[in-house]
């Protein structure tokens, strides 16, 4: 068994056994929250890491999915219908977001997504007849797929874990596909890609849709997790948090956003119980990451591990200097 496979199996075993070794329901719920935000960060990372597009409006899409579920359930629809409608509406919303935002790249893209995210927040806040305004909307109950009630924290965790694993596998397949290669090409050399026959705008548009799909899934899980949705979830700070998760963990890698989400959620939910000014701690951690591991925690740690291995003795591939190091993350 290779080291990578061993690490994957160990990580999977650790994730599956969380309810057994994590003390109490509260921390099991925190783990569910980490997985939900990991899906959210993965969605953002599809754009940042693989398309070179930084979005500050994804909380608006997450909120759109959450509100749609809450509104549908309040209207008397079943969970399956509510989830399906939420996915469709969020994808449609993403298409509108992408259609408007992709008129620009770089700072322009950031500003348009920021503005669209704020519009979504404004709608949630002011469209009181639908969203409940400041009071938000509650979800009366969680679904019970195949009779498996999600009211128990460990059950909800397992349901979230299944969705999370599916999202990770889907993202892995996506970024390693010919389309994923095309997407990375548009990130690095859009002009060249056009000359090679690629439709750069359409590739970015489809990437936005995939990112929106992951965000919609995170939004649906989120509203079932909190059983409540209100305007602050759609704030710019939520979008920025998602971006920080992806960047601090290591954008352009699959593991990075997951580690970033875990870091942020642990500081928010666990360290905050012991440190009043936990925001300062989170800020200090981000500063430390930017200074010491500007490429993010996962690629930075891999760099340190490679350096340590090199000090112990050169590996054959490294000695020739002709091959990329195995597991080299995409930049």
């Amino acid at each position: 068994m290779t080291a990578t496979r061993f690490a994957l199996v160990a990580a999977l075993a650790a994730l599956i056994s969380v309810p057994a070794w994590v003390p109490g329901d509260y921390y099991v719920s925190v783990c569910s929250q980490i997985l939900i935000y990991a899906i959210f960060a993965l969605g953002i990372d599809v754009l940042i890491g693989y398309a070179g597009l930084v979005s500050l409006g994804h909380a608006g899409l997450l909120g759109l999915a959450s509100y749609t579920v809450a509104v549908c359930l309040a209207a008397g629809l079943g969970h399956a219908a509510a989830v399906t409608i939420a996915l469709v509406i969020t994808l449609a919303g993403t298409a509108v977001f992408a259609g408007l935002s992709l008129r620009a790249t770089g700072i322009g893209f950031i500003m348009i997504t920021l503005a669209l995210g704020q519009i979504m927040w404004g709608l949630a806040y002011r469209w009181v007849s639908i969203t409940g305004g400041d009071n938000g909307l509650s979800v009366a109950n969680r679904p019970a797929p195949f009779g498996f009630t999600l009211d128990v924290p460990s059950h909800f965790y397992y349901a979230t874990l299944v969705v999370f694993l599916l999202a990770v596998v889907a993202t892995w397949v996506f970024v390693h596909s010919p389309f994923g290669a095309s997407l990375k090409g548009t990130r690095d050399q859009p002009r060249r890609m056009t000359a090679l026959g690629y439709h750069v705008w359409l590739i970015r548009f489809y990437a936005c849709l995939f990112s929106g799909l992951l965000t919609a899934i995170a939004g649906i899980l989120f509203v079932y997790y909190t059983e409540f949705i209100s305007p602050p979830t759609l704030l710019l700070t939520s979008s920025a948090e998602g971006v920080l998760m992806a960047i601090s963990g290591g954008s352009g890698t699959l593991l990075g956003p997951i580690v970033g989400a875990a870091l942020v959620e642990i500081v928010k939910n666990v360290a905050s119980a012991y440190i009043t000014r936990w925001n300062m701690l989170l800020g200090a951690i981000f500063v430390a990451i930017v200074v010491f591991m500007p490429e993010g925690l996962v690629p930075g740690t891999m760099r340190l591990v490679r350096r340590a291995l090199k000090l112990r003795g050169p590996a054959p591939a490294a000695a020739t200097g002709t091959h990329p190091a195995p597991g080299e993350p995409a930049p």
Binding site: V173, F174, H176, S177, P178, F179, G180, A181, S182, G185, D188, Q189, R191, R192, M193, T194, A195, L196, G197, Y198, H199, V200, Y206, F210, G321, T322, H323, P324, A330, P331
Partner: protein, 245 residues
């Protein structure tokens, strides 16, 4: 039938007219050289032909098919390929991935989000073949960042040739190369079959004049002299442009 036909092509940036009614007719299989001092509008002409810039007036046709209103990506699908004066590659990827991306650009596979690119053997083999054609086969798995300038020039040419173009535009393929590298690239260019029509911009006359059958001299956005090597060299306007009155 003309391989590349350019008629009355005009392009201005503000008050600066970069190309002024350029006419050019390149025959199938021809090796055409475009020369001229810096700022003559040669690269702008290439950008207009490939669709990276839109002309103000005039038209471009490839084998009698009108291109003027087509986007750049469509022109690549019709058989128009180019290299860049400033090397424009994917430095974080291997040579093989660079050429694979070039092949993928013309393949419907590029839209597929489900298959693994590494398992598309036919594509990988074509890319390996294209690299072998320019003498870079043994370096296929080397990251581009670990290659020399001359090798990158050859990767550019490999990427262009991999697309089996009908017309290939080479923008200063010898720029910045050492004597040995120039020789290698020259051999490579002479080996390109006649099915591929080549239009080349080049400042290195020693190499370029050997290669070209017809030469167009551009100056201030206009084609001022056109003809065979002997005709162009003998024309007093060529000397005037390069040496002054």
């Amino acid at each position: 039938m003309t391989a590349l036909s350019i008629r009355k092509l005009e392009k201005s940036f503000g008050g600066l007219r970069v190309t002024r009614g350029v006419d050019l007719a390149v025959q199938p299989g021809e090796r055409r050289l475009i020369i001229g001092p810096n700022g003559a509008g040669k690269t702008t002409l290439f950008n207009l032909v490939t669709g990276e810039l839109r002309p103000d007036t005039g038209s471009v046709a490839l084998f009698d098919q009108e291109l003027t209103r087509l986007p750049a990506r469509r022109r690549a699908h019709l058989g128009l390929s180019r290299t860049y004066q400033i090397i424009t590659l994917f430095p974080k990827d291997t040579l093989l991935r660079n050429v694979t991306l070039s092949l993928l650009g013309l393949s419907p596979l590029r839209w597929n989000p489900l298959l693994r690119l590494e398992r598309q053997r036919h594509l990988i083999e074509q890319a390996e073949h294209a690299l072998a054609r320019v003498g870079l086969g043994p370096m296929a798995h080397r990251p581009l960042a670990e290659t020399s300038y001359g090798e990158r020039r050859r990767v550019e040419i490999a990427m262009a040739l991999a697309q089996n173009p009908r017309v290939l535009l080479l923008d200063e393929p010898f720029a910045g190369l050492s004597v040995d590298e120039r020789r290698d690239v020259k051999t490579l260019l002479f080996g390109i079959p006649r099915e591929v029509t080549i239009v080349m911009i080049e400042h290195d006359m020693d190499v370029a004049l050997d290669f070209a059958e017809r030469i167009s001299v551009m100056h201030f956005g206009e084609v001022v002299v056109e003809g065979t090597r002997a005709e162009v060299v003998a024309d007093p306007r060529t000397k005037e442009i390069y040496l002054g009155e």
